[in-house]
């Protein structure tokens, strides 16, 4: 066993232990802010695993998207919700937790049996060119159509996010040609009031 393989093995072990510890912290800690920061740790460890798998682009994207965007968003959400509320402890809590643990352990056992039992086809070719170049080539050859469709998807996600976030100004003369009985559940409360007052 040479030095490179040793380093790979040790960093894999280190990353794995760190990731499992951080993930347990996310689930078990009571303070939600700690959970959010530990989640960032899980994402970082995962990108480390991607580096070990020679997937440098995915590793960078993982940090950019998950740590840089998703995790920050989660932290913002936690900061904006500052309502203190004490929840009543749920009865038979251990039963629910036990059932969840049972399902999770069962699923884990099933999937790990499957992973170990299946003879995976392992790709042994050594890639020397950068993965970014390869991904780019795929995007403009055999995965051209999904790549272009993703642009429409992103456009619509943007439009949709703006629609959900913007403040609607209700036009004054909305109710001019409507009939009196028109009170859809979707109508804003103020507007419904003006219609019935009229």
């Amino acid at each position: 066993m040479n030095l490179a393989e040793d380093v790979q093995l040790i960093s894999f072990g280190l990353l794995g232990v760190l990731m499992i510890a951080a993930a347990l912290g996310v689930v078990l800690l009571d303070q939600i802010v700690y959970s959010a920061f530990l989640l960032g740790g899980v994402f970082l460890c995962m990108s480390g695993l991607y580096v070990l798998l020679n997937a440098d682009f995915v590793a960078a994207a993982q940090i950019l998207v998950y740590v840089g965007a998703v995790n920050v968003l989660i932290l913002f959400a936690i900061m904006l919700v500052n309502k203190q509320e004490t929840f009543k402890p749920v009865g038979n809590r251990w039963l629910r937790q036990g059932a969840t643990a049972l399902v999770c352990v069962g699923l884990f056992a099933l999937l790990s049996t499957m992973v170990l039992a299946t003879p995976w086809v392992v790709d042994t070719t050594v890639v020397l060119t950068s993965t970014v170049v390869q991904i780019g080539k795929h995007f403009f050859s055999d995965y051209l159509l999904p790549f272009e469709l993703a642009s429409v998807l992103l456009l619509m996600a943007m439009v949709g996010a703006i629609i959900l976030a913007r403040r609607d100004f209700i036009p004054e003369k909305m109710a001019t040609d409507t009939q009196d009985a028109l009170t859809l559940p979707e109508r804003p409360r103020e507007l419904t009031g003006t219609v019935s007052d009229r």
Binding site: T118, P119, D142, L145, A157, G160, I163, Q179, L184
Partner: protein, 523 residues
């Protein structure tokens, strides 16, 4: 110019011309709305409808395309995908017709709604022809994300918010499960994403892969069953149907569901061909549960939209029967039923929208005595509901007969009998609404109907709604008697698709093999 021609020929870009037209329409709607503003909202829907009709025309030209594979095999525009894309485009046309007035009255902007609706259509259309795992997932997400956005479109309504949140959470979870199954498929086939190549790789794989393949199958079916809302993946359906804007529900129950069935057919018949027995078994379970639970729970509903939600779950169960039959007649009956379901279900939803626009309620009991006030609405809703239930002269009856006949031919006696029994149950809750509208005496009329506003078709957006109602009324009542063109269309779409020939050849081979194996024993 020369280069671009070469490129288009090499990619066979003509195969996605219909989708290209949808994208052009979508861009036109967005840009015109940006430039002209709210003044355009009176004629903008017609731009969208014209674009969709152009799409349908382009689809007609695609029929019997000798060279269906496009974009390096990632998209397949064979006749099966053409007919499903046609169903989806038509469902969007009718949905836009019914949404003009609805969106106007809910005080939200129409242009963005249509843009999102067109994106959902685009995703569904690409999904019907997707032939590659990456393509399948991206188009599935395009459909799903635009559906979430539409579900929460009336954001001042808490029920719509709740529906959107539920749909988003359950949908994201099911997408993740689907993606996990698909990634297993990628690994098992040694790094292939094309469905045909996956099937080829899996066929020569050894028996050690059986467990992995089974898990991949179950996880993929979980994702697909969420889209077609088959029991037990149906929990989102009633709440989402009740809370979200009614035109969206109409699209979800027809367009989105059709796309789900197209995906199921293509994926299960190619990639999972080696485990046909297993997926038939899983789908049998799904069909039984959907038919029983959908129809029985629908009996107890008091809200019209919730009742239609459970009825759509049950209808998905009937359609699955054609898939389990596994014969060409079975698949053709599926396509035929979906074609008819398009008209009758959208007709029913158009009537529900019209009623709620005039009275502001969706409760079944509020429909009491509607006959006295609005004869056209009563007639159209009765015809559509009776057709959904499968009462003889309507289109739905012929669709169900064909489905059950195909199932019987394939030897699915138990399932067909169950289908018949549950159809009878379904007739009860459909008739209940009809009885409520027609039979009640004037003094039993509900308050909503007593305060029924005078019928005015000249309000903005009412005319398209009227067109939608009359169109679905005519097609639902005539498509049964004059069903031959539709039937020919459905049959041709199946017989002219290579997908089913491959599947059939394999089935014949297996049967021959079994017969050979059995022979020595007999002797």
């Amino acid at each position: 110019m020369d280069l671009s021609n070469d490129l288009a020929a090499q990619l066979n870009a003509g195969a996605i011309l219909p989708e290209g037209l949808v994208i052009v329409t979508l861009m036109a709607v967005l840009v015109i709305d940006l430039i002209v503003g709210r003044k355009a909202s009176s004629w903008l829907p017609y731009v969208a409808i014209a674009g969709l009709f152009a799409t349908v025309a382009a689809l007609v030209l695609q029929w019997d395309n000798p060279n269906p594979l496009a974009f390096f095999d990632s998209f397949n525009s064979d006749d099966l995908s053409v007919i499903f894309r046609g169903i989806i485009a038509l469902s969007t046309v009718i949905t836009i017709l019914m949404s003009i007035r609805y969106i106007e009255q809910s005080g939200t902007s129409l242009a963005e709604f249509m843009a999102i609706m067109l994106t959902a259509t685009l995703g569904a259309m690409f999904l019907s022809g997707a032939n590659d795992l990456v393509m399948i997932f991206v188009s599935l997400e395009t459909l799903s994300i635009s559906s979430y956005l539409m579900t929460g479109y009336t954001k001042r309504d808490p029920r719509s918010n709740e529906a959107a949140l539920k749909y988003l959470l359950i949908g994201a979870a099911s997408s993740a499960i689907f993606l996990y199954g698909v990634s297993l498929l990628y690994g098992l086939s040694g790094g292939e994403t094309n469905l045909a190549q996956i099937a080829a790789q899996l066929a020569q794989g050894d028996s050690d892969q059986a467990l992995g393949l089974a898990i991949a199958l179950v996880f993929s079916i979980a994702g697909i069953a969420f889209k077609i809302s088959a029991v037990p993946f149906h929990q989102w359906t009633p709440d989402v149907y009740e809370g979200s804007p009614t035109p969206v529900v109409a699209f979800l129950s027809v367009g989105s569901k059709a796309a789900g069935f197209a995906l199921a057919l293509r994926m299960l018949l190619t990639a999972f061909e080696s485990v046909t027995v297993e997926w038939h078994f899983i789908f049998t379970a799904l069909a039984i549960l959907s038919m029983i639970l959908g129809n029985v729970v629908a009996l107890a509903q008091t809200s019209m939209k919730r009742m239609l939600a459970y009825s759509s779950i049950a209808q998905a169960g009937f359609v699955m029967l054609g898939m389990i039959a596994g014969t060409e007649a079975g698949y053709a009956s599926m396509v035929f039923y979906l074609l008819i379901y398009l008209f009758m279900n959208l007709g029913a939803f158009t009537c529900v929208i019209l009623f709620s626009l005039r009275t502001g309620t969706d409760q079944i009991s509020d429909y009491a005595g509607l006959y006295q006030k609005d004869a056209l609405l009563t007639l159209a809703l009765s015809i559509c509901l009776l057709s959904l239930g499968g009462i003889p002269p309507m289109a739905g009856f012929f669709g169900k007969i064909y489905l059950f006949w195909a199932g019987w031919q394939a030897g699915l006696y138990g399932l067909v009998l169950l289908g018949l029994v549950t159809s009878v149950i379904s007739i009860y809750y459909y008739i209940r609404v009809v009885k409520m509208m027609v039979v009640k005496e004037p003094q039993e009329m509900s308050d909503a109907v007593q305060n029924y506003p005078p019928i005015r078709w000249n309000l903005t957006g009412m005319r398209p709604l009227q067109v939608g109602i009359v169109f679905s009324l005519i097609t639902t009542s005539l498509a049964g008697i004059l069903s031959n063109p539709l039937l020919t269309l459905a049959n041709n779409s199946i017989t002219q698709t290579d997908l089913f020939h491959v599947a059939n050849a394999a089935a014949v081979e297996t049967v021959a093999q079994v017969a050979e194996d059995a022979d020595p024993v007999a002797q």
